[in-house]
Subunit: 341 residues, 2 copies
């Protein structure tokens, strides 16, 4: 066993879109597990949009990553040393190990995985945080009703693709939005969306709205909000009375995208008032207690192939920054993971 490990730290805070200069790969001594702790060798590291928020020094639902600290993130890997009765070496676990080749965490902070049930990488995507985000936001805030219409952006991403599939399974019309014709094709063919619009083909919100209106002849009842920006601006006027907007992200605005016009907040407030909309923010860390219910419904469907998922796999920890930056620009198609082993 090697006595060093690798990690990627936040070298400096980005202004707008992150760049290479904001990350630094380091070698550090391999830590030893203390009492009740386990040492894990990471196989797959998750890259998610929320991590962009952690790079800023702004007050948020979680503390920012400090400059010089390991970039935060969930990962799955194999236990290689254990000082806990809960784990034996050779078992697999999910935990918040960060962007690192190895990590030590209390055994109680880990979630044990069964590699027989599904590939362990799915614990980062379709059966992990993104899948739970989709399921929790849709069921607890979206409250989908048979025959309604749902819109979600990043439709081939791990959240959007799950939202679409769950909506279809509940008898809704599901309209996706994605970047480029290839993703739109995947959204319809792989994930079963009724239609998918390429936001890149629409230079402004008015154009995108016109296309959305054509695909949503009965209006929009649920807008699962994970992007903000132009898509939000397009969707709001099409919302039906009593519509619901679960809000879990705003990736379009994370890295300094165009803020839009000055009248957007008044226009949004007016839409919420006139249509009696419900807009509710949620973060998945509030809903981890629902993970067992989620897995009970969705894990068998992943195993049977009824629920599809896509992974964008990048090899090597040193390539994580590039994969992360590409994801923020929409370069990913499915769940972005970095394969370390």
């Amino acid at each position: 066993m090697t006595d060093t490990m690798q990690r990627i730290v936040l070298a400096s805070r980005p202004e707008g879109a992150p760049a290479h200069v904001n990350f630094r790969l380091e070698d550090t001594p391999l830590p030893e597990p203390g009492d009740g702790e386990v040492l894990v060798r990471v196989h797959y590291l998750s890259l998610d949009p929320y991590m962009r928020g952690r790079m800023d020094d702004a007050k948020s639902y979680a503390k920012p990553v400090e400059v010089g600290q390991t970039m935060e993130g969930g990962a799955v890997g194999e236990v290689i040393a254990s000082n806990s009765d809960l784990f034996k070496p050779g078992e697999f676990a999910f935990g918040m190990f960060g962007w690192a080749s190895h990590g030590v965490l209390p055994a109680k902070a880990l979630q044990k995985l069964s590699p027989d049930l599904a590939p362990i990488s799915t614990a980062l995507g379709v059966l992990g945080m993104p899948g739970l985000t989709a399921w929790h936001g849709l069921t607890s805030i979206g409250k989908p009703q048979h025959g309604e219409t749902l819109v979600v952006a990043a439709a081939t991403g791990p959240v959007g693709s799950m939202v679409g599939q769950l909506a279809k399974a509940r008898g809704l019309r599901a309209v996706g939005i994605a970047g480029g014709p290839e993703k739109c094709r995947l959204a319809v063919e792989t994930f079963g969306f009724d239609a998918c619009l390429d936001h890149r083909a629409h230079p402004d919100a008015a154009s995108l709205r016109e296309a959305l209106a054509a695909e949503c002849p009965d209006g929009i009842d649920i807008y699962f909000e994970n992007v903000g920006g132009k898509v939000l601006e397009s969707v709001l006027p099409l919302m039906n009375v009593g519509g619901r907007i679960p809000l879990c992200g705003m990736i379009a605005w994370y890295s300094g995208a165009d803020l839009g016009d000055r009248n957007l907040l008044p226009a949004a407030w007016r839409a919420i008032l006139v249509k009696r909309l419900l807009v509710q923010g949620f973060i998945i860390f509030d809903a981890y207690h629902r993970l067992p219910d989620f897995l009970e419904e969705v894990a068998p469907k992943v195993a049977s192939g009824e629920v599809s998922y896509l992974e964008d796999i990048t090899e090597g920890l040193e390539n994580a920054p590039d994969a992360f930056m590409a994801m923020l620009k929409g370069g990913n198609t499915g769940k972005t993971v970095v394969k370390l082993v």
Copy 2:
């Protein structure tokens, strides 16, 4: 009995703040009630911020008033002729008679009033739509909990003053916002707010926010939203995790007030996400079925004096436009009514 009546029609649509040119006083023949209808002589006419929205040709929750049509509005008056078993001449009723001295409506569209219970003008304010708006928004969306902090603007207005009194009765800290030191004094002394801030003393949102933060040491759990604009911008960063924002109006933006910065929608969306806020629009016409429950709780408190209310009474239908325009600029202190008889 006279055979003519007076009414005020929408003469033209306003751009921004309404002006005299947008209204016209007309004499018209007194209508005769048809089968099942009653003729009412209006005693008090209600003036409310929502009417500003009806003057625009924009899609909203209700049709706009057409140019040449009577301005919409609720009113209370005495039945002077009846072709219905439901009403006898001499009885009092509330109905949507518009800005007019008389009106004919189906008896079923009227609500009978007991002048012994409370002055009939209260059916336009503290025991009418504004009171119900406050009670419904606070109880069904705000879900106040003992010990929480609530903020509401237009704190001496008919909605804000009721919100504050209901919040205090439920054990919350209630902080009002109003225009000018006299209104702020009334908010505290007459309506029992713990504190009231004069928004005119704060040139920008940052200044108002600093003052609010000092009066809300535990943050804000409920922001009852009826104004938008600078107050909203001040409040959002102070909201606590899990806060609720019942949204029933945005008077600051109705007549072309400053729209604020371009980053307001991203900032609002970020606050909703990070604080997991619930924002829900509602209009009182969706909640009229709750009127009996509301009256059961609040009417005895009005009769006993436990719940206070203020009325701004203008005499004469011809003065309704002036009173309406003044109200939109914050010139009213309590419920704005026009006394016709």
